[in-house]
Amino acid sequence: MTKEDYKGMWVFAEQENGVIEGTVFELLAKAGELKAHNGEEVIAVLLGSGVEGLIPSLFAHGAEKVVVADHPALKEYSARPYQQALTQLAKKHSPSMILYGATPLGRDLAPRMMVSLETGLTADAIDLGYDEDGTFYQTTPAYGGKILAHIVINERRPQMTTVHPKMFSPVAPLEGAVGKVLRERVDVTADDCYTVVETVRKENAGKSIATAEVIIAGGRGIKCQDDLAMLEELAGLLGGQIASSRPLVDNGWLTHDKQIGQSGATVKPKLILNVAISGSVQYQLGMCGAGCIASVNQTGEAPIFDISHFGAVSDYRKLIPALIAEIKSRKYSTAPQN
């Protein structure tokens, strides 16, 4: 079989508890765009148990065909049974590409698919496209996001990639859209070496930075852990939360749930103040949707200023305490002073 014999753009239709993961619709929309270049069919591949009811929403969001494998062993996601089922389907149908959302589930499953299909898998792409010579490429940040790379999978098929959520907009759903449904039998067994004991909401869920209105974020330029106290104080004054770029999480000053960026949370506050953050692409991916972006950095050339509405080239150790004092005096100026 030559690579030209592989046809069809597969979107892995991730679902849990009967709910389609939002990224699936974004990928269906993007595959629809890619069709203009390659003329191939947009196909959603749905695994699960009792998932028949999800098929219409896949058509409504742009799938032309849906491949379904409904099996009791696929009811709850588990890496090995899903790997088994999807491998059987891919070997039978030989798609030219498989797109997965770069979600915890997608990033758990896709590397195993790479091994069973012995093909390429690009990680966490932020864009997909065709270059002048017609090669399908995936854009992905590398080296802490300072550099972007075009990755290609030249000879092997399917070409696979996980795609960062929220990079593309889904199409407006077309209710009542129909297409071809292929119901496939798969030979899978439940994994008796892997058990999900329970899935619970974290105690601090809801207080996550993803929903904060104001975020004071610290970055690599923060000189010591004690300096986080002034960021906390400022955040408290403004009714916000503190967060950070990756370095402060890597060195253990803050927990991962405070991390903004590609491998952390995506935030959309009214205001974000970036303190001593240079602004890698990966960080920017997590916060560029903020209503107002203000940044303090000692280095005027820091890339964070390129996307900031307001900037101050200054030492945060001088600026933040002075700003705290100023805000206090404005907030409490009507209150008695003594």
């Binding site: 091994v115 390429g120 990680a123 000879e155 690599r220 890339p303």
Partner: protein
């Protein structure tokens, strides 16, 4: 219990730049470090050894100078180190890498647990751990925020955004750990001294019995076609300038006009 911890030597991403003329990475003067999350994987392994006994071996694929990452692993307290080094390994993507790392696990043999940092800060794929698990046909737990072992099963809390998922996998299994799982210990002078006496092996492709078509460039379906620096957005940044007082006043004015205060 026999634990293998996979570690990687990575460039300190702070220093990375492109040569504006050639578009190649400028490597000169770029410091190499142990991938930060791999230190968490080492720490997790050492804690499990303290509780259950056994050995911890650090395994690293890379050029001869990647020995430095292994020295650090030994200095933290690992018992032995394996460097997988061969020119033929160069240019490996995650498929070829996972094949090579799995071959090493098979050669070391009788492993119970494979530990990985969730991702490396250079390529940032987070694919190597699950891919090695797939190569070996063993179960995996990704995104572990806690780890314990009981009765031949490894138990972890997986960190899934707002959710916490408790899972168990039967050994042998592979686990990738998040940075929150622990605080890595420092390499102590005594351990660094002891490290030089600990067993260290260097294996090449022939030692591992690798098929030439499955390692390095021939074994890598994906390749990098081009590197470029991100485009700069041209937001019309308003700068607060002048003396600190003036700067602060303008800053607070902005907060007021944005209705933050």
């Amino acid at each position: 219990m026999k634990i293998l911890v996979y570690v990687k030597q990575v460039p300190d991403t702070d220093d990375v730049r492109l040569d504006p003329k050639t578009g190649n990475l400028l490597r000169e003067g770029v410091k190499s470090i142990l991938n930060p999350l791999d230190a968490n994987a080492i720490e997790a392994a050492l804690q499990l050894r303290e509780k259950h006994g056994g050995t911890v071996a650090a395994v690293c694929m890379g050029p001869p100078q990647a020995e430095e990452a292994l020295k650090k692993a030994l200095g933290m307290g690992c018992d032995e180190a394996y460097l997988l080094s061969d020119r033929a390994f160069g240019g490996a993507d995650t498929l070829a890498t996972s094949y090579t790392l799995a071959k090493a696990a098979e050669k070391i043999g009788e492993y119970d647990l494979l530990l990985f940092g969730r991702h490396a800060i250079d390529g940032d794929t987070a694919q190597t751990g699950p891919a090695v698990a797939a190569q070996l046909g063993i179960p995996q737990i990704t995104l572990a925020g806690s780890i314990s072992v009981e009765d031949g099963w490894v138990c972890c809390d997986r960190m899934l955004g707002d959710m916490r998922q408790r899972v168990r996998a039967k050994l042998p299994a592979a686990v990738t750990v998040c940075g929150d799982i622990n605080k890595p210990r420092y390499a102590t002078p005594i351990n660094i001294m002891k490290a030089s006496k600990k067993p260290r092996s260097t294996w090449n492709a022939a030692d591992l019995g690798c098929e030439a078509s499955r390692i390095g460039v021939p074994g890598s379906p994906s390749s990098t076609k081009g590197l470029f620096e991100p485009e700069k957005h041209n937001a019309d940044t308003v700068y607060f300038t002048g003396e600190l007082d003036a700067m602060i006043k303008a800053f607070a004015d902005m907060l007021q006009s944005e209705h933050i205060i």
